[in-house]
């Protein structure tokens, strides 16, 4: 069974060795299609490697907004043999494959970067189909399913481009092969060349030499297709319906970074780690900030010696009243656990943007997983308050970046903003973000009168025990408000105290902030529900980046007459028990969907609401869940499948 995409949409994939321009080609392709009026969702997959290993970029172009990928590929674009070997079997019947015609005789075993396991799998597929172990065998397999293959003699095409440019340095020129490949695919799809040239200008505009060679290569490949092939009959053609006005093409890490800038983050620390570093690098390249009042702001990005320094430096900066963040992934976050507790103990507002990747340990460092939920909400020794918020897509990543700072300052505690590799490195067409957001700084003050009733040692009471668990907070350097911080249990002034009564009062004060947060945080920020009314009996529950794929699968199922509701839990800690219980009141069947081994959200739902999870759909092979596989799994459950736990395994 597969997912038949009846939207006016196409799933397109380009692959190639890491370092050969797969990413930039995919970005040009995406931008071209967006300019033509299509919505885009792009997903990037790559090895933990600098050069040579197989990387690929899947792009879905659609007349409707899209936020997920499918298993099937309608058009496979390649300029090396490995891409064909690895992906040709995913090309749908009636699909298209573009390949380098000079590689047709390449033998599977001779491609050095195809690892042993993949080699065995592909070899068996060819053998079972009675085909040769050559690239041609792979193509024959696709042909037998009805695919059309287009062989391009890239070398001769590059030679021709070289002649046109009067540039004999072909080895250098060979770098344009990526642009030739996408240009050929755009030509086949019937997307206007002007859009391609405009997208190339957007990318290479500042580099005249690269610009001219890429444009020449694009022009050449575009007309090569038109003159050599008859593309009229290809099945995967689509037509745009509108112009995307006020839209951006943006990645998750860019969205989160821009949210931080708008949200007032003025210092970020980080230690390099995939997939979190992209955000810090983007912030650094936008370190000068324009302001509405005409003044100039700035954000300082500090690369530290390790993640312990990253979080402790961020806390030090936060004490001066600055909105401060650090960004990391699982291994780095593990190192931050102790300092997180210090921030909780001293009621310091701090944001940790946590980009999950597949663990444990080094795990699959460039691959996706949502395996750090339980670790994140439990990080640090002892009981202390923290807020954990998870975004479901790129747009949410932007708005939640701002909310994370508001929560941190309103409740004076560390906030962990959970994102993941799938959100971070995916790209999407998105409506330009709104700046109609409020900055909530809570009980933060820059000026303060002398406390008429100071604490026992005669000092300002930073941790004053009063009705509200939130005390007045001032930055270091404020007159009349000298205070102390310590990781030890402390008095209202921040001096060490081991007194049992004081201990209870201070623990109560800190932990009560969680109750306050649950009371004040908007329902939409606790959990969002879709396709849902009070009669909804069958409910899918999930969190984070599975959102897009679940929503599209549910849409399809609704069309087919099976309605399922969807609850996306956004606030993971403190757990919004009341909200979730309310949503589950009439639910008869609860299906938990998560990108981890142990259904971590499922265990929280059971723990807090007492409701058993009926079915679990999980995945942990490092490749994000596709709409296709969620659709198939849900369909199986609805049609009486007895398996209580379904493990998805899609992806290359």
């Amino acid at each position: 069974m597969s997912f038949s995409d009846n939207a006016n949409s196409i799933s397109w994939l380009i692959g190639g060795p890491q370092g050969s321009g797969v990413d930039s080609a995919a970005n040009i392709f995406a931008k071209t299609c967006a300019k033509e009026g299509f919505h885009i969702f792009g997903k990037r997959e790559f090895y933990s490697n600098i050069k040579g290993e197989h990387s690929y970029f899947t792009i879905r172009i659609s007349e409707k907004p899209v936020n997920s990928h499918l298993e099937d590929v309608n058009m496979l674009v390649s300029f090396d043999a490995e891409t064909v070997f690895r992906h040709a079997d995913k090309v749908s019947p009636n699909g298209v494959i573009i390949y380098d015609s000079s590689l047709a005789e390449t033998v599977l075993e001779e491609v050095p970067t195809i690892d042993f396991e993949a080699n065995k799998r592909i070899g068996k597929l060819l053998q079972d189909s009675g085909l040769s172990q050559k690239l041609n065998g792979m193509l024959d397999l696709a042909r037998s399913r009805g695919c059309t293959v287009y062989g391009l003699p890239y070398y001769e095409m590059i030679e021709a481009v070289g002649r046109n440019l009067d540039d004999p340095k072909l080895s250098k020129l060979s770098r344009v092969v990526n642009v030739m490949a996408i240009s050929a695919s755009l030509s086949l799809l019937g997307i206007k060349k002007d859009m391609l040239i405009s997208a190339i200008k957007d990318v290479f505009g500042s580099k005249p030499k690269l610009l001219s060679s890429n444009i020449e290569a694009a022009e050449y490949a575009y007309s090569y297709i038109n003159t050599k092939f008859d593309a009229k009959n290809i099945k995967c053609k689509i037509t745009p319906k509108a112009v995307l006005k006020d839209y951006v093409l943006i990645s998750g890490s860019q969205a989160a970074a821009i949210g931080k800038i708008l949200g007032g983050c003025r210092l970020q620390t980080y230690y390099p780690i995939t997939p979190a570093s992209d955000e810090s690098e983007f912030l650094e390249s936008n370190q000068i900030i324009n302001q509405v009042d005409g003044k100039r702001g700035s954000i300082i990005v500090v690369q530290t010696e390790d993640e312990i320094a990253a979080i402790t430096m961020a806390i030090g900066a936060a004490l001066t009243g600055v909105r401060t963040a650090t960004a990391t992934s699982g291994p780095g976050f593990s190192l931050m656990a102790e300092a997180l507790g210090w921030a909780g103990m001293n009621e310091v507002p701090l944001v940790v943007t946590m980009y999950q990747r597949a663990g444990p340990s080094t795990g699959l460092p460039t691959r996706h997983e949502q395996g750090d939920l339980l670790f994140t909400i439990n990080a640090g020794h002892g009981d202390f308050p923290k807020i954990v918020l998870a975004s479901g897509d790129i747009e949410e990543a932007f708005y939640d970046s701002i909310k994370a700072f508001n929560f941190a300052e309103l409740y004076q505690l560390p906030v962990i903003h959970l994102l993941d590799k799938a959100i971070s490195s995916s790209i999407q067409t998105s409506k330009r973000f709104s700046n109609e957001l409020k900055i909530e700084r809570g009980r933060f003050k820059r000026d303060i009168d002398k406390d008429p009733s100071p604490g026992t040692a005669g000092h300002f009471r930073r941790f004053k025990l009063e009705d509200s668990p939130i005390s007045t907070r001032v930055p270091l350097g404020t007159e009349n408000a000298i205070f102390w911080n310590t990781g030890d249990e402390h008095t209202e002034e921040g001096h060490i105290s081991e007194d049992p009564e004081n201990r209870n009062k201070m623990m109560d004060k800190r932990m009560k902030k969680l109750e306050l947060a649950l009371e004040k945080i908007a329902e939409d920020d606790k959990a969002a529900c879709y396709n849902f009314d009070s009669n909804t009996k069958n409910v899918v529950i999930s969190w984070g980046s599975t959102k897009g794929a679940i929503l599209e699968a549910l849409e399809k199922l609704t069309e087919e007459g099976s309605k399922l509701g969807f609850i996306q839990v956004r606030l993971l800690h403190p757990f919004p028990t009341g909200t979730i219980k309310k949503f589950l009141t009439n639910a008869r069947l609860i299906i938990d969907v998560e990108m981890n081994y142990s259904s971590q959200l499922g265990s929280l739902v059971q723990q807090y609401t007492g409701r058993e999870i009926d079915f679990k759909i999980v995945k942990y092979n490092g490749r994000p869940m596709s709409t296709t596989e969620i659709y198939i799994a849900l369909k199986a459950i609805l049609s009486g499948n007895n398996e209580r736990r379904i493990v998805l395994d899609g992806g290359t």
């Binding site: 509405v292 702001g297 700035s298 954000i299 010696e305 930055p475 350097g477």
Partner: protein, 321 residues
Amino acid sequence: MAELKLADYKTTVHNDWCPGCGDFGILNAIQMALSEMQIPRHKAVIFSGIGCSGKTPHFINVYGIHTLHGRVLPFAQGAKIANPDLEIIAVGGDGDGLGIGAGHFVGAGRKNVDIPYLIFNNEVYGLTKGQASPTLRLGEKTKSLVTPNTSNSVNPIALALVSGFTFIARSYSYDVKHLKDTIKRAITHKGLAFVDVLQPCPTYDDIHTREWFQGKNKPGSEKLIPRIYKIEESGYDGIIHDESEVNKKMSKILEFSSEWGDRIPIGIFYQNELVPSYHERIAENINDYFERPPSHQEISDAEKKPTARIDKILDKLQIND
């Protein structure tokens, strides 16, 4: 503004250090330095690590941030980068700074943030009952050790030098005047300043005691020859006036740093303000950093609306112009 007296820099918080602890001398010296420099109390922040030395800020009546074991430097650097107007002093123990925090010691050297850092160097982990610290030499056995020390010691002066500290000094906790003057010089230094403070632990270190530092007997005489000597008194000048002096001075500093036993040098070994501070490096990219550091920026207006504009960033990602 009224003159601040030494007493103004003291708190009434109960001090639980052991009687005779060298830490008292360091505490007094810091308070004296702050008072003599008339640093406004609310402008100063003492950051500390964990251990006996970690309690220091609670006894000084300025802002005090008692951080985590080994992490005092990154905490302090974060605050100073965010607000360079603050007068930040970092203090910690030898286990704190050269054991668990050694990575940050090296990392801080590379950055050269404008803060003084004092290590209370007593060769033991006092608060956990006297285990060997990173400055206890191989084979030495203090009374609290079961067997002689099986790890070798780190040379703090040499480590500071190769890590890039731009001010390196040593002082002695029982010579409060020398220590106070050294701290003042460290505070005024532009860049990261390290002061290695020899601080006998009267409870656990029975080898390098106050008496030991006071000297050894001259053969056939009652007179003690002090082990500690001041390098300035022999005419040594640690200030780098020209980059060409660096190499020569470095070998001299390494020579000083390995002197121990009968002759132990104290004083300012090295001061190099020709190396740009981290703040100056930031200002290379953000020209108005000193006028508008992160802590001075208004991020929202009276209606709580963000002051930042993101339109230019979004324009670059826009699909159609």
